[in-house]
């Protein structure tokens, strides 16, 4: 096992800021038009400079890439387009040298239909790997199970002409589900995790965890047997690789997600999926209601656990966890062009979603960084990259990182025609207008601002681990909350409105404290017995440190 250059103290993930990267999209070192690990390693200076202290890598394993790597064909290797295992190890070492932890993605639920396990499994009914997947002679089992990719799949069963039977798949039909009732499968998947942990990775983002087990007359989601499998993996991780992070990808309501934390013995972190669309909704409605409502419904989690918060990621802005009325509203306001819609979501990046409005981008990032949870920044959103909804599937938000205004935006020296994806070229979001190089040189660029807020967030542990208490000022356009950890108290006030707002905050319990604005370190008047009056400009937010001096 490699010596770990980064000490994995308990709860490290709580104070982290995670940067989500797809190797393919980030930087191409060998000039073949596809991003790779050597390219990524060269860009770690930038990641370090941004201030984040963890990277989440999307799948980089050998794959036919029919689902951008989520269709894995070999778990213990690196896709040849992205480099070699040695390249990965080198990248990992450099990241650790820079104090950046690396979380890799593991798709437990299914493999590619090109995975050798599946090829063997389908080859004959007697094959030893036959039971590694879920087979059936009919397509009528588990009828109560929803179809996730409604736009492309008619059923969760697909007919295999080779073995003349149906196989179960919750995602695309080329992604057969593994059979977790089979102990051999569970053992092999642990071996996969062990392989990467021995190389030194700091954690796993486990994809599609609610779907591991199928049972008749259930939704085949969130079943007790699935939790038992997760608890078993967690136990092994804690025993053999303490400090390793397990992050759940489970697009569920908070109450349904809560069991994935168990008694602190399942996942360390889980994505808070329902919060994200409600942040966008609150912004458009100019009303805190959707945000406070979902956080009120969010159950408490064990002290060692943490929510993972994000604004955008590699998938569509999912609207599965909203009501029909809310979904219609989101579509009308954020995806009027039907090309922007995919499945039950919106395939757009942060900046275009917010009309490239710098104030709204800052406000949303301000909320992301100050709410209870570990924030994730999707690559490119820190410079305001755009998207291309005409690329199909979710590829429009997976375009090459824009490093400069030069050749291919600095992403690759290859001929532009040979890039894995066309870069964004339009005059507003194209790499000549939006790129790292130019924003590095501008102190007031979005990138510079992001570095500043990340720095403040990282230097304020209360954001990572503190409690939250919402204030409910009568002005519903104001989202205000107090974060507290030990003796440190932070007041956050967000104006969700496009107009200036006045708000009176009931801060009597903090009477005698002065407020220190955390970005400019300016002092605001002392809190007295009267309601504390603040005025905020359009989409403005304040972070105040409370000090009793």
């Amino acid at each position: 096992m490699n010596e770990l250059p980064l000490k994995r103290e308990a709860g490290w993930y709580k104070d982290s800021i995670i940067y989500q990267i797809h190797v393919r999209t980030f930087s191409d070192a060998n000039g073949d038009g596809v991003g790779d690990f050597p390219g990524l390693a060269q860009r770690l200076d930038y990641v370090q400079e941004l201030g984040v202290n963890a990277i989440w890598l999307m799948p980089f394993f050998p794959s036919p890439l029919r689902d951008d790597g989520y269709d894995i064909a070999e778990y213990k290797s690196v896709h040849p387009s992205y480099g070699t295992l040695e390249d990965f190890k080198n990248f990992l070492a450099i990241a650790h040298e820079r104090g950046i932890r690396v979380i890799i993605e593991l798709v437990l639920n299914h493999t590619s239909d090109q995975h050798p396990w599946f090829l063997e499994s389908r080859s004959s009914h007697d094959n030893p790997k036959r039971d590694w997947y879920v087979w059936s002679d009919t397509d009528s089992k588990y009828r109560g199970t929803r179809i996730i990719f409604l736009d492309t799949e008619m059923s969760n069963w697909a007919w295999d002409p080779i073995s003349k039977a149906y196989y179960w798949h919750r995602f695309f039909s080329h992604q057969p589900d593994l059979n977790y009732d089979n102990p051999a499968v569970r053992e092999e998947m642990w071996n996969v995790m062990k392989f990467w942990l021995e190389l030194g990775v700091d954690g796993f983002r486990l994809d599609a965890v609610p779907y591991l087990i199928e049972r008749e007359a259930t939704s085949c989601e969130n079943l007790p047997e699935t939790h038992a499998i997760i608890r078993d993996l967690r136990r092994k991780v804690d025993e053999q690789f303490p400090g390793t992070l397990l992050l759940a990808e489970a697009n569920q309501w908070p109450a349904d997600l809560r069991p994935y934390f168990g008694d602190g013995d399942e996942f360390h972190m889980a994505f808070h999926f329902p919060l994200m669309p409600r942040m966008f909704m609150g912004l458009r409605l100019e009303d805190r209601k959707p945000i406070t409502e979902i956080l009120q419904q969010t159950p408490a989690i064990p002290a060692s656990c943490q929510w993972c918060l994000f604004l955008r990621n590699h998938d569509e802005l999912t609207l599965e966890m909203v009501t029909d009325a809310e979904r219609d509203y989101m579509y009308d306001l954020y995806a009027r062009d039907k090309a922007m819609r995919l499945n039950l979501g919106i395939r757009r990046r942060l900046a275009p979603l917010l009309d490239n409005d710098r104030r709204r981008i800052e406000l949303m990032n301000g909320m992301l960084m100050s709410m209870p949870g570990t924030p994730i920044i999707y690559y490119g959103d820190e410079i305001g990259m755009g998207d291309n909804v005409y690329l199909g599937d979710r590829n429009g938000v997976r375009t090459p990182m824009q490093w400069s205004g030069g050749w291919n935006g600095g992403f690759s020296a290859a001929d532009p025609e040979s890039l894995y994806s066309p870069p964004i070229l339009n005059p507003v979001y194209g790499y000549q207008a939006v790129n790292v190089l130019s924003q590095r040189r501008t102190p007031h660029s979005l990138l510079s601002w992001m570095r500043h807020i990340i720095e403040i967030r990282r230097s304020t542990p209360v954001f990572g681990s503190g409690s939250i208490e919402f204030l409910y000022p009568a002005n519903h356009r104001i989202l205000a909350y107090v974060r507290q950890l030990g003796k440190e108290t932070i007041l956050v006030v967000n104006n969700l409105s496009s107009a200036a707002q006045a708000v009176e905050l009931d801060l009597r319990r903090y009477t005698g404290n002065i407020l220190i604005e955390m970005f400019g370190r300016n002092i605001f008047p002392r809190i007295g017995d009267l309601p504390y009056l603040l005025t905020l400009g359009p989409y403005q937010f304040f972070w105040f440190r409370l000090r009793r001096i």
């Binding site: 009303d287 009325a325 509203y329 002005n475 519903h476 707002q501 708000v503």
Partner: protein, 422 residues
């Protein structure tokens, strides 16, 4: 000295918290605790159902209730609406209240709400009566949609009424407003209506509030302002309206607020109405006025006696108000027994116009003129109720149209007597 302000600091603070909205639903309350809760719930349901995406606020202007009405308005929980109708609120729905005075004043109440709506930049303001126990959530849609989507400035209601209700509107306010101002607004004195920001702003800026007629009857003055200002007016069918029970004393005050305001409006608007002939229909949405068949129990003797004794007792007053032929005709009618009693449309229209002209010239105290009209109105009511009892619902409409025709036909007579005495 600083000018007196209409909105209290506390109310302004509440308005700041509400912020900009698209829709204000106003209530002018005074001791309405018995009816207000279901009405507020219906309003909430209407907003959630019909305007789920619009920013809305319920604003109550209270005239010094002693029964806790304001708290019932502000405390009505949206959760009840959710539980009852499963209509989900996308955004916060504020309900705020202010006590503008210790005693009710309809003019100040309406002005408070319109000023608040103007401050909040509401595109539409809907007024709902705190007595409207038959309100349905759809009323908001019927009233506000024409303003939001069809650019109307004033949307007046049309109701399904019992045939015995709305007597004053159907016998005086509607026909006279129609003949004077030339628009067929069926409910010119509406307790429910919607108004655009454009009209509200104009109404507030014209300082109409300082004029007697507006203070007396703010609602009818709003209609008249819309008519004389050539604003786009529509009327929308709401459904059943049940009139709250009123005492005789109420009738006098209603006369002041309605007929008094209408008569007063003629003074300032003479240049406008004196040139209008005939009348134009108004866009009518979602249905036509409906009468509900009912078995009427009319105390004919009582009404006839009130009329006859009024004609006898107020002879001196009537001789200063009415022309000799008209008064003679009333005296003749007063001799009729219950069985043959009839106060015909042409005589009624002439009576009303002569009262209006006398009111204009203030031949006696104006309030006395209005009070003198009450017994004559009783007589006309008796004729109206008898006709309605015996005829079909369809023939009600024909008679109403005929009465309006008489008012329009006699308008030159009003002009003739307007400045000249009887």
């Amino acid at each position: 000295m600083a000018e007196e302000t209409l909105l209290t600091d506390d109310f302004v603070r509440q308005l700041i918290n509400v912020g900009e909205v698209d829709l204000v639903v106003g209530l002018c309350t005074h001791n309405n605790s018995k009816t207000i809760e279901p009405i507020v719930r219906a309003i909430q349901a209407g907003i959630l159902k019909c305007f789920p995406r619009e920013r809305a606020a319920i604003i109550n202007a209270d005239g010094g209730s002693q029964d806790g009405t304001p708290k019932l308005v502000t405390g009505a929980s949206i959760d009840d609406v959710w539980n009852a109708s499963k209509v989900y609120a996308l955004r916060t729905l504020h309900a705020i209240s202010t006590t503008y005075a210790r005693t009710p004043d309809p003019s100040t109440a309406l002005r408070t709400i319109l000023e608040a709506a103007d401050l909040l930049r509401a595109r539409a303001c809907v007024l709902i009566s705190p007595d409207s126990t038959t309100i349905e959530p759809d009323w908001l849609q019927h009233l506000a949609r024409p303003i939001f989507y069809d650019n109307f400035d004033l949307v007046c209601p049309i109701y399904r009424r019992k045939r015995s209700e709305g007597v004053l509107v159907r016998n005086l306010l509607y026909p006279m407003t129609r003949s004077i101002y030339g628009y067929r607004v069926r409910e010119p004195y509406a307790s429910e209506f919607a108004i655009s920001s454009r009209l509200a702003s104009n109404f507030l800026n014209q300082e109409i509030w300082k004029q007697d007629w507006s203070r007396m009857g703010p609602e009818i003055s709003l209609t008249i302002t819309a008519v004389t200002g050539k604003y786009r007016i529509a009327q929308s069918f709401l459904g059943t309206k049940v009139a709250p029970g009123r005492s005789t004393a109420d009738l006098v005050s209603v006369m002041r607020r309605t007929v008094g305001a209408l008569f007063s409006s003629l003074d300032v608007n003479f240049p406008v109405w004196s040139t209008i002939t005939g009348s134009e229909p108004v866009s009518t949405l979602d249905g036509q006025p409906e009468g509900m068949p009912e078995s009427l129990r009319i105390n004919r003797k009582h009404l006839r006696d009130m009329f006859a004794s009024g004609v006898a007792q107020l002879e001196t007053v009537f001789r200063s108000i009415l022309s000799p032929p008209t008064f003679s005709e009333l005296q003749r009618i007063a001799t009729l027994g219950v069985g043959e009693f009839n106060y015909p449309a042409d005589v009624w229209a002439k009576t009303v116009f002569e009262f209006a002209a006398s009111y204009h010239r203030s031949v006696i105290n104006r309030d006395h003129i209005l009070q003198a009209l009450v017994p004559l109105y009783r007589g006309r009511s008796l004729t109206f109720l008898l006709e309605n009892r015996d005829g079909s619902v369809e023939s009600d409409e024909t008679r109403e149209e005929s009465l309006c025709g008489e008012f329009e036909r006699l308008k030159p007579y009003l002009l003739e007597i307007w400045g000249n005495g009887k």
